[in-house]
């Protein structure tokens, strides 16, 4: 009996089991780990060293397209390699499994964030971005708490802010800066595109409320 109690107390502390069929730890263990993590003083976690991105470091494993993405709201930065191209859609993935779908440099979706952009209707936006200015409509779809896709129609206008030079990991590009302002349920979101000919070298594009905007730069 006493031994059983001791075992029981051990279980309370640890919680254990065979690896579950989905290859993860038992749920009791996960919950326990989470609770323990909450108890730990925050300061004890050393801030990770800011990673230095150089052209050599982000292209060392690939000759294919690479983008450098920063998410100011999440205080995160990563390089993403293209892993698939399907028609106009390029799928980029980061080391930690975040996926971005880009069509001609425009964000067509994100995966792995949680509050992801599920799809984007931006064919009119693409035409105007290449042209220079105009008004058009966009549609963004997100998934809500009830697993329904929610479509949001945005009225946007784009203006040209003239020539600039952007430097992406040492490479300079002569570009035109074009700023898109969209009305999203009564508030404004701003996307910026640095365009040369048909190429969007750099952009700042809005994903969702929780993720905010991403800055995306085409490295190669």
């Amino acid at each position: 009996m006493h031994r059983f109690i001791a075992l029981g107390l051990m279980a309370l502390l640890a919680g254990c089991g065979s690896p579950s069929v989905d290859g993860t730890r038992p749920l009791s263990r996960q919950i326990l780990d989470q609770s323990l993590a909450l108890l730990k003083p925050k300061a004890a976690q050393a801030a990770p060293k800011p990673e230095v991105f150089t052209r050599a470091s982000v292209t060392k494993d690939t000759t294919g397209p690479v983008i450098l993405v920063s998410a100011p709201k999440l205080k995160a930065k990563a390089s993403l390699n293209m892993i698939q191209e399907n028609g106009p859609t390029r799928t980029y993935v980061s080391d930690d499994g975040i996926v971005l779908l880009l069509q001609h440099g425009l964000l067509a979706g994100s995966r792995g964030f949680g509050d992801d952009l599920m799809s984007s209707e931006h064919s009119a936006a693409h035409r105007v971005i290449l042209k220079g200015s105009g008004r058009y409509e966009r549609v963004l779809r997100h998934i809500n708490s009830q697993n329904h896709l929610e479509a949001q129609a945005l009225n946007c206008s784009l203006t040209d802010h003239g020539a600039e030079t952007v430097t992406i990991l040492g490479h300079k590009h002569g570009v035109l800066r074009r700023v898109e302002t969209c009305d999203l349920a009564g508030r404004q979101i701003e996307n910026i595109f640095w365009v040369a000919e048909e190429t969007i070298w750099k952009s700042q594009q809005w994903v969702s409320d929780q993720i905010g905007s991403l800055t995306i730069a085409q490295v190669q």
Binding site: F4, S20, V21, S28, V93, A108, G112, S119, R141, N147
Partner: protein
Amino acid sequence: MKLFWAVLGGACCTGHILVAEPQITYNSFGMPGLIDMPSAQSAPDAELIFSVSQSGKSLRNTLTFQISPRLTGAFRYSAIGRPTDTLYDRSFDLRYRLLDETERRPSVAVGLQDFIGTGVYSGEYVAASKNLGPVVATAGIGWGRLGSHNGFDNPLGLISSRFDTRATGYTGTGGQIESARWFRGPAALFAGVAWPVNDKVTLKAEYSSDAYTQEVSRGHFAYRSPINLALDYQIKPTIQLTAYAQHGDEIGILASLTSNPKHNPNGATRDPAPMPVLPRAKAQVAPAGWSEIPSSRSALMAALTPALRQDGIQLIGLSLTDTIAIATIENHRYQSQPQAIGHVARLLSNVLPASVGTIAVVPMVKGIAGSQVIFPRDALETHEATPTGAADMRAATVVTDAAAIDHKAASNEGVYPQFTWSFGPDASASLFDPDNPVALSLGAKLTAEWVPTRGVYVTGTLRQNIVDNYTSDPRYSDSIITHVRSDSTFYDRADGPVLHDLTANYRFRPGTNLYSRFSIGYLERMYGGLSAELLWKPVDSKFGLGFEVSAVRQRSFDGLGFAPLTVTTAGLGAPRSYDTITGHFSGYYAFENGLHAQVDLGRYLAKDWGMSLRLNREFNNGWKVGAYATLTDISFDDFGEGSFDKGIVMEIPTSWSIGRPSRVTRSVVIRPLLRDGGAKLNLSDRLYDLVRDTHVPQLEAQWGRFWR
């Protein structure tokens, strides 16, 4: 009442997104309202509110649910001090908002307070509420308890003199709907205002029509004034604290926690990203007849199995022709089957030779293949990242029955046998015993599952109690019919490791639209025996029919035997033996709006015949909130306190609180009285719930996650 906090903690503490609607404040009965008085307001749709109020010698714990935008329901468990003891009372409320507020007109609601049961709080009202600037003004007329101060002749007496008098006491053993009393007897007026001073603070004042006759007669407090005053403080959007002064003589406090299954403040779960589609132009080209070569099939299996396992999905089988691939899978990770199906389809596109033009995924749940989801490979390539990709993909998809699939030929070697186990902490609770309203037990639980082959599941649970707050002297059931459930406390108290259940189940498909199960063993904590179930459920239907029959014998309080002791109010007696055949015909229907109905007709554990009705409001994210009631040929008197079996059921998905995908849910059943009439066998994994997850109505509801 700590249990409620613990049970609801996971849900309520997460709260919900701030909505633009004005903040609703709650009264001491846990309903939208003033201090003691109700208002005509409703909470936001689907809001769940748990509130605790204490004033004088009255403690009220209320669970309130906004059943639909207009209908509010509440279950309350109160402790009311009496000179020598405490009265524990259960009560139910309903409120319906008849009219919405417009610029000129107030909103109007009609409500029943404590309309089932012993009627301690029973009262009815019609209330009107109107926003005057930021201030919400309410006025109304009450009957019963709400017509007890400054009452006047019932105006409904003009219609019929029957309305003039109200019977006192309650019918029989309580628990009956006392409709013969509603809106009868003297009526009185009440009124009040709620003034939000700022985002956090609301001041409330009311003229109460409740004279608190019983409480005053018991000397809880002196009744000096009908005016009550309150200050509400909004700690967080989900937590409200209220301090109030009642009748010029008493101070009370109220805390309410809200949560809403429709809005998760943490947003969608953080799911791992899927593999992108490989367009066929890039897929490998295999010579004609490749699918006949055994090594090509085993090579595909070897590539798919670990990749899917990484994603929480098991590859059960793969059947191939040169042009068609059918993968049978079991999804262990994603609450939404379309999400798992979408992941499998994309992975298949990466490994299948270009000649395969049609891909089918068969989602299996605990050994049962519920449907076959078929799509042209072209559609996967075309709709992967288009604006309406999910809807376009659904339009290109065909869902059919999966009964004809030859699992044997397609099976993935090495899937079976499977053995899994887990050992961890376990908490259990039994509620509403007047001697110990919240009986809690903390223990350790060992569960194991052995799956020797597809469809055969041997599962068992061993539990050891470690700490509990059980009283030294249990309450001996006074039930005059066979004690099929009411001795459950003796099962909870069993010493030593307890074999909670140990069952061998076989689930299979006897034919198209048909599903079947056989079970043998210790089926649940209190019964062992044999059980069989047959379900008819077409893959695209919202309607299902089932039949279940079980031959069972009641288990001993502890150990493996079948000789529970006789329990009388005098104490424990000799061992007895009880066996019975129980079974039901069941009808299931899934309404468009998330409402699910289940009707059971049949024979219950105490050999009583009758029917149960269960209504659940289900949310696409896995939340369920519902209620059930059972009426059988056992008379209300023989049933005893409460008159018939009824309860509230909640199911909360784990993914909601951890923010990551999971198929685990936590169920809470609140049964005001556990007695012997209308008792059912507690079988886990009944077929309908396993099957419908992979059927068209449910797939369609969750299809938005296909490309996630």
